[in-house]
Symmetry: C2
DNA sequence: CCCGGACATTGACCCAAGTCAAGAAACCAT
DNA sequence: ATGGTTTCTTGACTTGGGTCAATGTCCGGG
């Protein structure tokens, strides 16, 4: 079984082949087998936190199902989410340790893990994998920098609209089409998690959601289901160029 | 001449060997020669802006002397600096285009450039280079994420202290020691550029600098020279763990 | 030495978002 | 259904940092 084939989990890599397949798309059969040989699966419950300090975590992983957040935490407890991890996204770094992060499972989570040692050995033998990992990391860097613009310069309203845009784009990408017109999206995050990602408080998030609803830019069905009547109109609120920069 | 040897410029790679040498440290002599064959130098005047959109820029580069900032810009002109480029730092991405950035020379600047095509070919032939580039990119990603915490959660005062800390650490690294005690640093940035990096306005930067000065945490000699009487005391203001996270 | 322009500081005022606190909705497990 | 918990909304109030505007300081060139 290759890394991008189905496992018993409901939504394995087949549903979001871009990243997973990318790790191995250009690999030969024997390289695929090598990847399969060193992988294993781990699941986490919603709400569970994993402290992903470079040294203590001796594996890298990629999300198979569910959504997690990657968080930076200050000693006094202030927390900033620095990345969303959707299915096919990669966590951890090969090589020596980097900064420590908290990974919080926002929903039940299944991850596909590779022990660092054998993964690195495989990387050394298989240039495709290293190259693909570089590409993915560069994309993440672009995304992080775009998010810095949001954190440093956008208003609360623009931040909310941008977050909805990201989720809408992800959703659209899963169905292999471009986001536009009327869309229905499912928020995988609580108001608190949204606030953590946007550099706001949960009260401000709630207020701005209400404001967008009042003005007809979104509709809410329950707390977590958001209907976007007009994707393009919402984009204008986000203050982004029409094409929408984030590739990740 | 290898990439990390002196050129006629005052402070070529020898002064900050970590990154430059790293690109080629594990390369064989012929690979070094190949790198040398495709490199060329370009200089920019202080204040000059280069639009580094993936497609139009057909080279990658690394800073030899001077300091530049990497900026994200919104259509309405709001600007966020997303990275400082010190000597030995790398700009541009091999592979297909990424997001467009503005690179602004904050001082006179000398860059060492490599045309993309031959650089990529070299990368494909030389796994060391690809691996080293991956490491560097992962470090940058860590730095970007640490900065997201600053942008999203720190107060103006903490932001200023953190920026001074970064510059102090860079300075110390150049002399191969750890930052501590009394330090004298030279700001390579105007108040405006500091504000752009910190997600503040220049007035707020100025006010907070004055406040830190009033409280004896820093002294100013002229506008650009900052004396830090007690590095550790300033670190506390920055709200960072003592060891100071940013490796980049 | 003095002038002009760029850069920096300071003050007065304002507003977006944070804080604190009370309810309301949704979501369980019995 | 029912009660208890968690999550979300809304209101009243405060505040950090933005905005606008006036000065001040530095530095290079004539």
């Amino acid at each position: 079984m290759t890394i991008h084939e189905k496992v018993d989990a409901p939504m394995q890599c087949g549903s979001c082949p871009i990243r997973h397949r990318a790790v191995c798309a250009r690999c030969e059969a024997d390289e695929l087998a090598a990847l399969d040989a060193i992988k294993f699966y781990r699941s986490f419950q919603a709400g569970q936190t994993v402290i992903w300090a470079g040294d203590q975590m001796d594996f890298v992983a990629s999300v198979v199902t569910g959504v997690a957040t990657l968080n930076q935490v200050m000693e006094d407890g202030r927390t900033q989410t620095v990345g969303l991890l959707f299915p096919s996204d990669f966590v951890g770094r090969p090589g020596r340790s980097g900064s420590p992060y908290n990974v919080v499972a926002e929903t039940d989570l299944l991850m596909c893990c590779f022990r660092k040692k054998p993964f690195e050995e495989l990387m050394a033998r298989t240039p495709h994998i290293a190259q693909r990992l570089l590409e993915m990391t560069l994309d993440e860097l672009d995304a992080a920098r775009e998010w810095m613009l949001l954190l440093g310069r956008k208003t609360a309203r623009e931040k909310i609209a941008s977050l909805l845009a990201i989720i809408a784009r992800r959703d659209a990408a899963l169905h292999l089409n471009t986001p536009s017109g009327r869309m229905v999206i499912e928020l995988p995050l609580t108001r608190e998690a949204m606030a953590a990602y946007l550099g706001l408080t949960l009260e401000t998030v709630s207020r701005q959601m209400s404001a967008l609803k009042r003005e007809g830019l979104i509709e809410l069905s329950g707390k977590r289901t958001v209907i976007i009547p007009d994707y393009e109109a919402l984009m204008i609120e986000a203050g982004e160029d029409a094409d929408g920069g984030l590739p990740a």
